[in-house]
């Protein structure tokens, strides 16, 4: 509860437009971003602890706040990692996952049953790579379909860089001619 309360407070107290939008003074908007950021980090700790209970490990579960500019240290730099998705809806849904990666290495994605999932690698647009201040090394995104995410539940995917793949076979997506 103490770790969740700061986000409750941030959401509850500061929803007036003069606190959070363009009609807030810049330093007020910046301060609200700070409050939200700190509160979200505390909630992430709670989510991580809950997930650790599920898999009986001490591995930290992290979020990537910069996925909106196609940047994520874990997916870019890890040889293997696990993506766990939480579906907040009360019905099963399909999510098309996009994870930033550094190069065109081939990746193997396994669903919770160990079944190989079809993946595609798409270049990140140049305009995103040029965003001022973006420090990510990712140049492509790994895209795959995470289907049947359980209602209000979790599903995990193993993602491994395939070191044995031949360079020529690595690129899944190439510019194509019209069909």
């Amino acid at each position: 509860e103490p770790k969740i309360n700061p986000l409750r407070e941030a959401m509850g107290v500061m929803q007036h437009h003069d606190a959070i939008t363009g009609t807030a003074k810049q330093h007020v908007a910046n301060d609200y971003a700070r409050i939200l950021s700190e509160a979200i980090t505390e909630c992430e700790d709670v989510s991580s602890m809950l997930l650790q209970r599920y898999d009986s490990s001490s591995t930290k579960y992290e979020t990537c706040n910069l996925l909106n500019i196609s940047a994520c240290t874990i997916s870019e730099q890890s040889e293997q990692f696990i993506l766990t998705l939480y579906n907040p809806l009360s019905r099963p849904i399909t999510e098309f996952v996009r994870l930033p990666i550094m190069d065109n290495n081939k990746y193997i994605v396994l669903d919770p049953q160990g079944k190989n999932i079809i993946t595609q690698i798409v270049p990140i647009p140049q305009s995103v790579l040029n965003i001022p201040g973006r420090e990510s090394l990712a140049t492509s995104e790994l895209v795959f379909e995470a289907n049947d995410l359980p209602p209000l539940g979790y599903k995990s995917y193993h993602i491994n860089k395939d070191r044995n793949s031949n360079k020529k076979r690595r690129t899944h997506t190439t510019p194509t001619q019209p069909q």
């Binding site: 363009g22 160990g114 019209p178």
Partner: protein
């Protein structure tokens, strides 16, 4: 090469490669022409001493004239096709670009826009919009906007249901409404809707047309209280904003469910947790 296709004849988009504004939607075998373009409104300058001298600012949107196109329509586009997604990367100008994509099996198109930093050299405020248009569409000056994701509210151009609007001097911003999740047109048989990933201002200023404001940068305060111009800077240049619009089109009997389910999927998206770990698949299962 004159055109390229995303998706298929059940739901797809043909893109005119010579003029990147022109598209043709394929909906269940039908062909529907579509135009998409980025524009900006020049912000009104003024000293706020009289109403007609009021500047556009953080509180009010007050354009000076009609929308100015941003794009160079002859820029080279790149198309990528694979088993999961098909997408086209379009560069509009050196500060505006877009990716249009269609995921396998989806019944909507995703327009991922990226705008900024808005240039400030001419010291004229700019309020950037993304405008979709189906030229032949007849919605009789009527459009629908959501109310915080709940029921639709009927909007009619230059009309207010609760009083007699004699003259709308602000005939652009006077028809703007908050769009928190969706704006929709209908001709009685079909529905044409754009869903957004964040609250934006939007309108339909002409039949078949939907516009949403995606970014704004101004250099004057509008004197409503904040005392600062809406001129956010980041790395000394101005903000870059990236987001998505989702386009749906189809017959009325199907579209309400398509829009509702899509809004839920996009506004309450799954949360991502990543972990570096060597666990075995069995444990993960």
């Amino acid at each position: 090469i004159d055109s390229v296709d995303l998706g298929d004849t059940r739901f797809g988009l043909k893109i005119n490669n010579i003029d990147s504004r022109q598209f043709t939607m394929h909906i269940s075998g039908l062909e529907v022409p579509l135009q998409h373009e980025f524009f900006y409104y020049k912000s009104m300058n003024g000293d706020n001493k009289k109403d007609y001298k009021r500047a556009s600012g953080a509180y009010i949107f007050r354009p000076n004239g009609t929308a100015v196109p941003i794009c160079d329509h002859h820029n080279e586009s790149k198309i990528f096709k694979g088993p999961v997604v098909q997408e086209i990367h379009i560069i509009c100008s050196n500060w505006t670009s877009q990716v249009i994509r269609k995921y396998k099996g989806d019944d909507h198109l995703e327009f991922e826009w990226l705008v900024g930093p808005i240039p400030d050299e001419d010291n004229i405020g700019k309020e950037v919009i993304s405008r979709f248009k189906i030229p032949s569409y007849k919605n009789d000056k009527t459009f629908y906007t959501d109310s915080n994701g709940r029921e639709f509210i009927k909007r009619v151009l230059n009309y207010r249901s609760s009083f007699d609007l004699k003259e709308n001097v602000e005939n652009i911003s006077g028809n703007y409404y908050p769009i928190t999740s969706q704006i929709m047109l209908t001709d009685g048989k079909t529905q044409f809707a754009i869903l957004n990933d964040r609250a934006q201002g939007g309108s339909s200023l002409d039949d078949g047309e939907i516009e949403l404001m995606v970014h704004r940068r101004m250099f004057l305060d509008d004197a409503f209280g904040v005392g600062e111009a809406l001129n956010e800077t980041s790395y000394g240049t101005g903000l870059v904003v990236r987001g998505q619009h989702y386009l749906t089109f189809g017959t009325i009997d199907k579209q309400f469910s398509v829009q509702r389910l899509l809004a839920q999927r996009k506004l309450l998206r799954p949360q991502y947790f990543l972990s570096k770990k060597d666990s075995v698949v069995k444990q993960n299962e």
